[in-house]
Symmetry: C2
Subunit: 320 residues, 2 copies
């Protein structure tokens, strides 16, 4: 960046953003991030002033930046960290979250899967014989929903950024999974038994969030989850990154163009939107999968299984 100048103030730039065809200094990078988050929140009616938000924090750059940005924007935001039991990775991730909250005097809630539900993600992956990301995602969604409802929060906020959402959209598009496509929105309104769920970072990239953390002095878990390694989602990210490298701006055009022009055509195509939810016999959460919800079945299966060390379920690379 030597010699390049901020587009806004002409001071020394710290980052170049090809999709904006410009460079930015630290101060105006933060301004760009604040404006993009504000636009996402406003365009999709995610929050109103005074709303209480529960932020799903993992210890990575996106969720810690999100927590910081929501507070910075004046929202009342608490954190929830879920201990997934993914060996050293989870231990380190939790430490980053606790330090972030402690240094700023924030309210952090914690749920440890092993202590409170009798399983962890590696064991659940082995017990269900599915990819680890499946059990992990379901556990997090359910526990965030429940904590938000019990805590009286107006919304659960997750740190999904533009790269994440574009990759998920790409995967759903490659399969033309119309049900998933119809539900791929940056906000899911509260419905019977579900809290409102919002993704305020959908207009911001991974790189921009890393820069936010650096400028704001936020230490975060840099490692990727060792179990997710080699999964399809990361393959979709790589493919889109190559497209973006050739044509800067393609990724945001893909994701935002979907929301603008295709999502309206798919409204009403979602299975969940067409009703048919019944409360789970065990936990009372709404479910489409019969008497007992998928999460209660996961807990039952995983908690009955002998604990599996994380090393035995790490991604493709190790198994090859």
């Amino acid at each position: 960046m030597s010699g390049s100048k901020c587009r806004v103030c002409r001071g020394p730039a710290i980052i170049d953003l090809p999709r904006h065809n410009a460079n930015f200094c630290a101060e105006h990078l933060l301004q760009l991030c604040r404006r993009q988050m504000a636009k996402a929140i406003e365009d999709h009616e995610m929050l109103e002033p005074g709303d209480r938000v529960l932020v799903a924090v993992s210890g990575g750059k996106d969720s810690l930046a999100l927590w910081d940005m929501l507070l910075d924007a004046g929202y009342a935001a608490d954190g929830l960290y879920i201990g997934l039991g993914i060996g050293e990775y989870s231990a380190e991730s939790g430490a980053y979250v606790r330090r972030f909250a402690a240094e700023r005097g924030l309210d952090l809630r914690e749920i440890d899967l092993r202590e409170e539900y009798g399983y962890d993600v590696p064991t659940a992956a082995r017990a269900t014989r599915r990819v680890p990301c499946s059990a992990c995602g379901m556990s997090k969604r359910r526990l965030f929903d429940r904590a938000a409802l019990e805590g009286g929060y107006d919304a659960v906020a997750t740190g999904h950024n533009l790269d994440d959402e574009a990759a998920v959209l790409f995967g759903n598009t490659l399969r033309w999974d119309v049900d998933y496509l119809a539900r791929q929105a940056p906000v899911l309104p509260a419905a019977d038994g579900f809290p409102r769920k919002i993704k305020p970072l959908v207009r911001l990239t991974e790189r921009e969030m890393a820069a936010w953390c650096v400028v704001r002095g936020i230490d975060y878990q840099v490692e990727e989850c060792p179990i997710a390694e080699g999964n399809r989602h990361l393959g979709y990210k790589a493919a889109l990154n190559e497209i973006e490298r050739r044509s800067p701006g393609s990724k945001s055009a893909f994701y935002l163009g979907f929301l603008d022009r295709m999502a309206p055509l798919l409204a009403g195509e979602s299975v969940a939107a067409s009703g048919g939810l019944e409360p789970c016999d065990r936990c009372g959460a709404p479910t489409t999968t019969g008497d007992v919800c998928a999460f209660c079945r996961l807990v039952e299966t995983a908690a009955a299984h002998d604990p599996i060390p994380v090393e035995l379920v790490t991604g493709r690379r190790r198994r090859r």
Copy 2:
């Protein structure tokens, strides 16, 4: 392939097809190609027995294989070659087409852009200041349509294969161009002023078509068009090839899944489908772009321009 066996007859295999998770000998590779083309023709009601087809031949593997396959399947198929004036590349391509037709005693029609319309593709690209593929595609579409109508053919057949169609779909999807998506079908029915247009190879890959040519002894132009080099379409192909390499079958799932599940939801979203076509004041062909159609305007602009040697408009690499 040493030692691997044909899935059908257990004889020595000549090709492995990961998307079918199998190997094939020469005879059963041809059988697979014949069946996939027959399924495409039947599923999309492209042709009926006895239909007369005009095949758009370029000299490449796909269009020569298509002509061969249509004849092999019993259709009455003639060829039309358009001389695009892309230097040595066009000269060689034409020679392959003429040799193919002469050796088999087939009816080949030829149109030379420079001789009959006063321009060539490199000059049109320079004159219109757009990417060369734009003027080239428009010229071919218009001249194939006109020749089919004047010759009383039931359909124009083009050699677009699964890789081509998936890459076009990917590009339209990245931009969520709903109008283009709504028209992306393997068959376009005849409409006022347009002949029926069909793509019988949409269930077959580039590699399968190259293998058809090798087995059937068809010599073809191996070079890619020098002007198309570096265009976006080729970038989309590369991205999908990487996805396919990680998950064989992804590409056909993407394209065929679109036709199956998304195309029906988009029916009626096409601008052209909503009417508004008027005959061009000069040539009488239907147009949405005012009194004079885009092709007549292209001819006027390009024919008035001094001829440009192909070397001056070859793709990105040369211009860097």
